[in-house]
């Protein structure tokens, strides 16, 4: 079982380029990686983290080693970004480059080694979100694509698509408020928090549509139930990894997520 999976992945990796044009320093352009990189994109409130928890459990029960990554989780600068976001002095280029540092630190120190060791990496957001945020703030798209030219190309990218209104309701239900950055308050779109949130999410959605086209996102209706979104994700991932049986019921620990 394991052997056949490795073979399948090895072929898939060798068949295509892993970067967007430039290899990471120290990485050979044609290096084939045993692991699989799967990305979940979507706005706050689209259910990404819930799905990642469920997918991790499912994949581990199927015998796959799983590593996760996300934004602002690097050992190098995550804390610094937190501090920068808390004050209002940071400007858009600086923030863009700090997030890029955070992204590449995780990629080089955790993700690349994991992929070399045959892991399935589940990314809770990828550089696509970073491009969308920066582009929504007026930084040129081709500049941003150049910035992430050395990023690894995912094997599969899902876009959990949720409308601004639904995203607002879910966010509000979860934290009883709307964050400064998620509502794009730095962009002076509106003094009304709700209006600002809707306008910002609409801008983000436009950027995501451009990215979805360019990077072959698999769009999934994020407003559907957790279980049906999960079923669709499992179906696609099972096909990629050669998993025959896709039945899954969450354990007691995760049962509360299944609604």
């Amino acid at each position: 079982m394991k052997r056949s999976r490795k073979g399948a992945n090895g072929r898939a990796a060798a068949a295509k380029m892993r970067s967007y044009g430039l290899p990471l320093p120290g990485m050979k352009e044609d290096e084939s990686l045993g692991g699989t990189l799967i990305v979940l994109e979507g706005t706050d409130g689209s259910g990404r983290s819930t799905q990642i928890s469920l997918l991790t459990e499912w994949l581990e029960s199927e015998g796959f080693a799983v590593e996760t990554m996300g934004l602002r989780r690097s050992g190098l600068v995550a804390r610094d970004i937190d501090a920068l976001l808390a004050e209002n002095t940071i400007t858009r280029m600086t923030l863009t480059l700090m997030y890029a540092t955070d992204f590449f630190d995780q990629l080089e120190h955790r993700i690349l080694p994991a992929l070399r060791s045959d892991f399935v990496v589940l990314a809770d957001r990828y550089f696509y979100t970073l491009i969308a945020r920066a582009a929504a703030r007026g930084i040129q798209r081709d500049y941003l694509l150049g910035l992430y030219e050395m990023a690894l190309r995912p094997d599969l990218t899902f876009w959990l698509n949720v409308g601004p209104q639904a995203a607002f309701e879910r966010e509000f239900k979860k934290s009883h408020t709307i964050s400064y950055w998620e509502s794009g308050r730095d962009m002076s779109l509106s003094n009304d928090l709700f209006q600002s949130f809707i306008k910002y999410q609409a801008k983000m959605k436009k950027e995501f549509e451009l990215l979805a086209d360019r990077h072959n996102f698999v769009a999934i209706d994020g407003e559907a139930s957790v279980s049906s979104v999960n079923r669709e994700l499992r179906r696609r991932i099972a096909a990629l990894l050669g998993i025959q049986r896709t039945q899954y019921k969450p354990s007691a620990a995760l049962a509360s997520l299944w609604r």
Partner: protein, 269 residues
């Protein structure tokens, strides 16, 4: 192999109306001499001017820029001095990365770019738009020379720093490798890990690693002389003689009277 550092490799098509990184080409230059000396430069859309110094460690650039700054300061000129790698915003990250040796060529480069972006957006650009003379000790060419020596792609770097305003003058202080390296080694017995380029595994001996690393950087600087319009200064000349040259060139290439105090608009002596 190193030819990729020159500015020709920067992506050519980057004009777009609603976004920042690239200087917009418009209007005729206000300073006729500038147009003659730098015909290929993009025109700057601000009243300020940017003068930068570059060169390897020990080339004498910081001393010379300090003397230029003092000359103008004493004359009451409107100026601002800025240094590479000095933004408080990313200082803690840089320190942590260096202490724990977490930095790869990519993250080393990105952190410095973030640092530069912070100074660029909050100091350099507003001051240029506000009509200041900005003097910079090291500029983006430091990143091009050093990060390429570490293995970063020249094309990636040129794109990364696209948002930087192009200097009015780039003084490149050039000293032979041995002269520069010996100046540093004589005064500073203990070289730091990244400073010596130990992450490149060139040599286990710090001084030797430093020498090899600086040699690579020097070669990368030399590659940019023509493509980036460097004004080459002979770093082996006596300090005061070199400073006289620097002042003459600064006056010729930038209309300094723009920055003079209002009442006495004349050249400093």
């Amino acid at each position: 192999m190193l030819c990729g550092i020159s500015r020709e490799t920067a992506p050519a098509d980057m004009a777009s109306s609603d976004s920042i990184p690239v200087p917009v080409e418009s209007e005729a230059p206000t300073d006729a001499t500038r147009a003659v000396v730098l015909p290929l430069e993009p025109v700057r859309d601000y009243p300020g001017a940017l003068v930068v110094v570059e060169g390897i460690d020990g080339s004498g650039k910081s001393t010379q820029l300090y003397l230029l700054k003092r000359w103008l300061e004493i004359g009451g000129y409107r100026l601002h001095f800025t240094e590479w790698n000095s933004s408080p915003l990313v200082k803690s990250a840089t320190r942590r990365g260096k202490q724990r040796r977490l930095l790869t060529p990519t993250t080393f480069s990105l952190l410095h770019a973030a640092d530069f972006a912070d100074r660029c957006e909050r100091q350099i650009l507003p001051l240029l738009h506000g009509g200041y003379l900005v003097l910079a000790d090291r500029y983006i060419y430091t990143a091009f020379a050093r990060d390429v020596a570490r293995g970063c792609s020249p094309r990636w770097l040129r794109n990364l720093y696209r948002f930087a305003p192009v200097p009015d003058i780039t003084f490149y202080f050039r000293a032979p490798l041995d002269v520069a390296v010996n100046r540093i080694l004589a005064g500073r017995p203990k070289l730091k890990y990244y400073e010596a380029g130990m992450d490149l595994n060139l040599s286990l001996d710090r001084a030797e690693s430093f020498r090899l690393f600086q040699g690579r950087i020097l070669a990368n600087y030399d590659e940019m002389i023509e493509s980036d319009n460097f004004v080459v200064m002979d770093g082996t000349l006596p300090v005061n003689k070199l400073q006289r040259q620097m002042r003459e060139i600064a006056q010729t290439r930038v209309n300094l009277s723009r920055f003079a105090p209002k009442k006495a608009a004349r050249m400093p002596r």
